[in-house]
């Protein structure tokens, strides 16, 4: 007997005789496959005891074929009875799909059971071909297992929220395996996740905390670069808000649930969701992806500085950095806000009611800061006025048909200087701020000078034209009189 040990031969023979002895007591409806294999105590039959399919009355033959009513092994596992042995490769998913993609077949087990898993997974990132060739990358049993399949809500299920991270990590934390499919994809998601708030809660047994499936989906997982993906930048806020925007779901957690609402109205939200500007940050750009966690007070400038590098750098060198840290103020957020951040305007600076400086720098308590804010505010106003004046003069000159290309070009410098003032203000250093303002004032002065000169030139041309017309008219009259005189003389000569 090739391939069978002596011990196995004895076991099979024992089972055969036992079955033969108890044949008269065996029920016709009883799953004879399971009866026999249970006696063998093989792993599949042990696992299948608790399998959701067995509990629903599905015999081994449901997947493996054969005649489960026959206690004759030869007959039960014969080709005539449709026995197909152990399915392999795509056969596995095809066997599952035979029932799970058939609404009629699934209806008796629950009216709301989905039947689109097979088509979803074929269209997902996992639906591609395996490196082995000829079969799909994953099969149903890759995640759900076989024989011991239980409901997702069952804590023993490998896809239960508390287990799914480990299940996904089975492949995604395996560098050697992942390299064969997507070498650029990180393999540290599980480690990062375990450091996140979500990961910590999940590890402590909180099944409500987000895990892989919560954000990426189950069967329908797509690449993050795919615009249909739930983690595509423009879809991320909505994905996060599935939980974070649900006040009932989040009731037991002491955090607000209006982030999506405030973010949508913010300058970032309008850019990302309104203009589809992918450079604008979504939730994960500030909070992290797998390691999602609220930024610490002292690190907010670093988070914002990922994009607003100059502002963050200037701020970190400014006297405000130490003061904010000491007072426990969240850096950028103190003046600009967080989720509902709006486009910064010049009105933020100064000592008016709309300004943020005066919230800390009261005239009597902090006169130096108060004076600085007032001074910078007046410089901003002056530069704005100078820009408006220059623009008006250039427009006037252009409307008069004058060439003011240089002034138009330098007008950009004024505008640029105004933008720079909004950055340099984060240094809160009078000398550095004044240098930028001076650059803007110099450009504005050039623009106004050039435009004024062009307008003066416009009137000079008209005066010049008037003078030249007078001269030409005099010359024309003189010429006309000369012609008359010559012709009169010619007539006189003819008559004489």
């Amino acid at each position: 007997m090739d391939g069978m040990t002596q011990r196995q031969v004895i076991q099979v023979s024992t089972v055969f005789f036992l079955l033969a002895g108890f044949h008269a007591r065996g029920s016709a409806e009883e799953d004879q496959c399971f009866v026999c294999h249970s006696l063998l105590e093989d792993r599949p039959s042990v696992l299948y005891q608790s399998d959701v399919h067995r509990r629903s009355g599905i015999s081994c033959s449901g997947c493996h074929g054969g005649d489960s009513s026959s206690d004759d092994m030869e007959q039960a596992m014969s080709e005539q009875s449709g026995f197909r042995s152990i399915p392999a490769g795509d056969e596995i998913s095809a066997v599952c799909a035979r029932c799970h993609s058939d609404p009629d077949a699934m209806k008796p087990f629950g009216a709301n059971l989905p039947t689109d898993q097979f088509s979803l997974i074929r269209g997902s990132v996992h639906g591609g071909g395996s490196v082995k060739g000829g079969e799909s990358l994953i099969q149903c049993n890759t995640c759900h297992g076989a024989h011991g399949i239980v409901r997702v809500k069952d804590k023993r299920s490998p896809v239960h929220p508390l287990n799914v991270v480990a299940t996904c990590a089975g492949c995604h934390s395996n560098p050697a395996y992942m390299r064969t499919y997507n070498p650029s994809l990180p393999v540290d998601q599980r480690e990062k996740y375990r450091t996140s708030v979500h990961g910590e809660k999940n590890a402590s047994g909180d099944a409500k905390a987000a895990e892989c499936v919560s954000c990426h989906g189950g069967h329908e997982i797509l690449r993050a670069e795919d615009v249909r993906s739930s983690v595509y930048p423009t879809n991320v806020p909505g994905t996060c808000a599935t939980c974070h925007g649900n006040s009932d779901y989040m009731a037991e957690y002491p955090i607000p649930t209006d982030q999506l609402e405030t973010y949508s109205g913010s300058v970032h939200g309008q850019a990302l969701l309104g203009k589809h500007d992918l450079a604008a940050p979504a939730c994960n750009d500030c909070h992290g992806n797998h390691a999602a966690t609220p930024p610490g007070i002292e690190s907010i400038s670093n988070v914002c500085g990922t994009c607003h590098a100059l502002n963050a750098d200037l701020f970190s060198k400014s006297p405000h950095k130490a003061a904010f840290d000491e007072m426990g103020l969240p850096e950028c957020e103190t003046c600009h806000g967080n989720h509902g951040i709006v486009a910064a305007t010049d009105q933020l600076i100064g000592v008016s009611e709309d300004a943020v400086c005066s919230q800390c720098h009261a005239e009597d308590l902090n006169p130096a800061g108060y004076q600085f804010a007032m001074h910078i505010s007046s410089l901003i106003d002056s530069l704005e006025t100078e820009e408006a004046r220059g623009t008006a003069l250039v427009d006037d000159a252009e409307n008069k048909g004058m060439e003011v290309g240089d002034a138009l070009f330098r007008l950009r410098d004024v505008r640029q200087a105004r933008f720079e003032t909004r950055t340099i203000i984060h240094s809160f250093n009078q000398e550095e701020c004044t240098a930028v303002f001076d650059k803007g004032f110099a450009a504005a002065s050039f623009v106004s000078g050039e435009a004024t000169r062009a307008i003066d030139e416009y009137y000079f041309r008209r005066i010049g034209f008037g003078i030249s017309t007078v001269i030409i008219t005099i010359l024309a009259i003189a010429l006309y009189l000369t012609i008359r005189r010559i012709e009169r003389r010619q007539k006189e000569m003819l008559h004489t």
Partner: protein
């Protein structure tokens, strides 16, 4: 004034500086011969004499073009990177540069207008009839060159409108059968309008065209002087037999000068009140702006091509259109040899009606094109 007028006198024989200068030149180049020739030259006076002045006005405008063109050359840089900026510099930084450029641009348009009027007046008067066929041909060749001056000069500022107008214009030339493709490549110095096209057009504009034009102009003027002014049908006759004439020098020449002064003032007015705009610098990667139009003197042809269906039988409509205008231009060039009636002293009504139709057609389609 009747015939037999005294010839213009040479400077008085005294010791004045003018007389001494005249004598000095005369001793070397026989100036007296030329003076005597001019003294005997008369211009017919009749109801159509006004048309004689448009030749002179065209000449005056050409002289302005040459002078202002030379001044622009002092600052213009004919390259893709610098052409626009150099014109901008001329317009804003060079003393009176704006005036020179505006005069050059306005005078160019007035030159073509004056030449057109001159051409049609000659046509309707049949002044091209024997013995002035060569004068007509040289004049027509100069007119075609003037269009070439206009087309090549339009691109030189390298602005957006000029760039795309040149693209469209050379595309049309490229539609010609057989020679279209090589002609397009020759004009553009490649497949597309690029900096190489600008350099080529600059060369045409300031060297090739002026050289050929000067030779033609010389022949044209010598012929006009040798053959005198043509007279309308029925008014031919010999001087001194009751026919009204005036001496070319100084009477006609001074009248010419008077008109030139008025034209000069008109150009100054246009240059000051309607300075020639520069627009935006050409960006070959940008899409063509809406409403690209050629200069007004190409407008009637451009507009006609727009009305021609894409396909006429087995031929492409645009090809047929370009061929038609080329053939019409060639016929117009040799009209003195085709008009047999004028050779026997008769005026062909058919040609007159054809001429009126052409003028009305040009005016109408130019207006439609301008308003479109």
């Amino acid at each position: 004034m009747t015939g037999g007028q005294p010839s213009p006198s040479t400077p008085k024989k005294d010791g004045s500086i003018w007389f001494r200068a005249y004598t000095w030149i005369d001793e070397r180049v026989q100036l007296r011969t030329l003076v005597d020739f001019l003294g005997k030259k008369y211009v017919p006076v009749h109801s159509h004499s006004i048309w004689y002045y448009f030749g002179g006005v065209s000449l005056f405008l050409f002289i302005i073009q040459v002078l202002t063109g030379i001044l622009l050359l002092l600052y213009y840089k004919g390259s893709e990177e610098l052409a626009f900026e150099s014109i901008q510099f001329i317009m804003s930084k060079v003393e009176f540069g704006w005036l020179i450029r505006s005069i050059h641009s306005w005078a160019a348009n007035l030159f073509i207008l004056a030449a057109m009027i001159h051409m049609f007046s000659v046509f309707f008067e049949r002044a091209y009839r024997k013995p002035r066929e060569i004068t007509w041909v040289t004049g027509m060749l100069m007119f075609f060159l003037a269009l070439g001056f206009g087309f090549s000069g339009y691109l030189l500022p390298w602005n957006e409108l000029a760039f795309f107008a040149t693209k469209v214009g050379t595309d049309i030339a490229g539609a010609l059968p057989l020679i279209g493709e090589p002609l397009l490549v020759f004009l553009r110095s490649g497949e597309d309008v690029t900096g190489a096209t600008l350099t080529r057009f600059f060369g045409f504009h300031v060297a090739v065209f002026p050289g050929i034009f000067s030779v033609l102009l010389g022949i044209h003027l010598i012929l006009v002087q040798r053959q005198g002014m043509s007279e309308p049908f029925g008014e031919e006759g010999e001087y001194g037999k009751g026919k009204k004439t005036m001496p070319f020098f100084p009477n006609f020449l001074l009248r010419d000068l008077l008109l030139w002064l008025l034209v000069l003032n008109l150009i100054a007015l246009l240059a000051v009140f309607f300075p020639w705009e520069l627009g935006e610098k050409a960006d070959p990667l940008a899409s063509a702006p809406a409403g690209i139009k050629p200069e007004w003197y190409f407008m009637f042809m451009f507009q006609t091509l727009k009305y021609i269906p894409a396909h006429i039988g087995p031929f492409e409509g645009e090809q047929l259109g370009v061929l038609f205008f080329s053939a019409a231009g060639a016929l117009w060039l040799i009209i003195p040899f085709l008009d047999r009636k004028s050779k026997i002293g008769q005026k062909s009504r058919l040609l007159t009606y054809a001429g009126i139709f052409i003028v009305l057609y040009i005016i109408l389609f130019t207006i439609i094109g301008w308003m479109a």
